[in-house]
Amino acid sequence: MANFLLGRLMQSLVLLLLVSMIGFAVLHLAPGGPLAQFALTPGLTQADLARIAHEMGLDRPLPVQYWEWLTRLLEGDWGHSYRDNRPVLAVIAGRLPATLELMVSALLIAVLVGVWIGIMGAIRRYSIFDMLATIGAMIALSIPTFWFGLIVIYVFSLHLEWLPPGNRTTIGGGGGFLDYLHHLIAPAVVLALVEVAIWSRYMRASMLDVINQDFIRTARAKGLPQRTVLVHHALRNALLPMIALAGVEIPTLLGGALVTETVFTWPGMGRLLLDSLGYRDYPVVMGILMFSALLAVLGNLVADLLAASADPRIRLT
């Protein structure tokens, strides 16, 4: 286990290093690079810009600049927002809870519904339910999330008036748990749609893998009831790869959250990214980009470690 842990940690560190290099490259792709902030300020001459570039160290070799940028990042200095001069990390932290709330609820729906559909599909392979679930999953993967959001708003908010059309709480209202929940339902379901499809496909495949193995045949041959075989023998093993899936799905989920937040005016990180893009607030944009990748690397690591602690076979590979 110690070897496995060390290996996985090293892998994540390498990944983080590469992620930071990609981030640095994107930063320098921006028109004007890190100088963009000043390029728009009236009254600055070329000489002024050159002087600022020198003060910011932009005339030094790229590897040196990268190293400085990386060390600042590691020290928690992610720069300041152009808009209100608050530290980038504080700006992100202010928006993170709303996004996490959305992601976790969507993931919860996806796991419960997707896993159930996957199991039923695998047990009754090629049944009508399985066929419909397969086709349904493919269509669900093809529906643009933002459009699905619009349709949900149209039907459930404008026509039926069951759900609020956006925001996290009633504006001016007292809030409260039920108010939160009421606002959460529509965006969570919209974000969950794609994930339900993905989870059901993976669960079905994983369950089929397990069902065809010898120990299941043995359990059946012993005369164990079908239910015991499926729940205690098959399901427990089929669920193991799903732990890793939760880690792999983080970038997709974050990307989906961005789109969902736009449609439902949800005050999360996705909206922050879009607003910051509109204001050319590059430090915040870069911060969100790096933060989301960081989240993905850490999520992957945690998921892998959880999977390894649940399944000893993984540690040996």
Binding site: L15, W147, I151, P251, L277
Partner: protein, 293 residues
């Protein structure tokens, strides 16, 4: 895979017709092909056949619901015919989908083949780079890149391709690694074939099945991605229509003119679903392992 000793290359004609037979049995894939052909033909020819111009502004007939005044799908806030705009948008969205697929599949294939062929340090480095790219939410990367560029058909195509080549690279790398130690590759190397020859004349043709499948699914992804960035205002800019930017301001008219939101979304869903169905059918048809059953 390694335990199954398949003949290295089955005669092309026979495996081709066998794959075609399997594909024909896949009804969803056939539906997908039909829908794609229909969409492409309608996008090309449709705008000529409909008696409305896509940019013709007719303020008296603005917000006409579907079927009113000869407008099959209704009109938009400027009184422009929605169907003609949908078909013109189809030209743009489908073109970007195909073009982004070609660029990203070509790039992903080169990366994947190199990584799979060279193994060791270069291969590991390349695949780690792919892993790192996949850590960023695709839509975040796309939006950030889109904010840096002058949005247009070519630039949007390029940034969509730049953020969606990784899956192809992974698929190709896996395929190449499993082919790498096969006898026909070793034989080619022993005969003194250069690395480039082995990669593109020996490995590439034998990895073409998975590449086609991944490419088809990439078209679906690319259409969705273009729709996302255009919907958010960073992609194709009006007056040029794309399915995504037609939804851009549909939200504010959701209550009064829901058809503005419904039809473009249906077009996207139809196109993307069709490509996904075809990709799925191709995967079943081209999977040589199924021949054993």
């Amino acid at each position: 895979m390694s335990t199954v000793a398949l003949p290295a290359t089955a005669p092309a004609a026979r495996s081709g017709s066998r794959a075609w037979r399997r594909f024909r049995r896949h009804r969803l894939a056939l539906f997908g092909i039909a829908a794609i052909v229909l969409l492409v033909l309608a996008s090309i020819a449709g705008p000529w056949l409909i008696p409305f111009d896509q940019l013709h502004i007719d303020i008296r007939n603005r917000f006409a619901p579907p079927l009113v005044g000869g407008h099959l799908f209704g009109t938009d806030p400027l009184g422009r015919d929605l169907l003609v705009r949908l078909l013109m948008a189809g030209r743009i969205s489908l073109t970007i989908g195909f073009a982004a697929m070609l660029v990203s599949t070509a790039f992903g294939t080169v990366i994947g083949i190199s990584a799979g062929y060279y193994g060791k340090a270069i291969g590991v480095a390349l695949m780690r780079f792919v892993d790192a790219m996949l850590c960023f939410p695709q839509i975040f990367l796309l939006l950030v890149l889109a904010a840096f560029i002058q949005p247009g058909v070519v630039t949007v195509t390029l940034i969509v391709a730049a953020t969606s080549w990784m899956e192809v690279a992974r698929v190709v790398q896996g395929q190449v690694r499993s082919l790498r130690e096969r006898d026909f590759i070793l034989a080619a190397e022993m005969l003194g074939a250069s690395g480039r020859y082995v990669m593109f004349r020996e490995l590439l043709p034998n990895a073409i099945g998975p590449i086609i499948v991944a490419g088809t699914l990439t078209v679906a992804r690319a259409i969705l991605l273009e729709a996302y960035v255009s919907f958010l205002g960073y992609g194709i800019q009006p007056p040029l229509a794309s399915w995504g930017n037609m939804l851009n301001n549909a939200q504010q008219y959701l209550g009064s003119a829901p058809w503005l939101a419904i039809f473009p979304g249906l077009m996207i869903t139809l196109a993307v679903t069709s490509f996904n169905f075809v990709g799925d059918g191709l995967r079943d048809a081209l999977d040589a392992r199924l021949d054993l059953n």
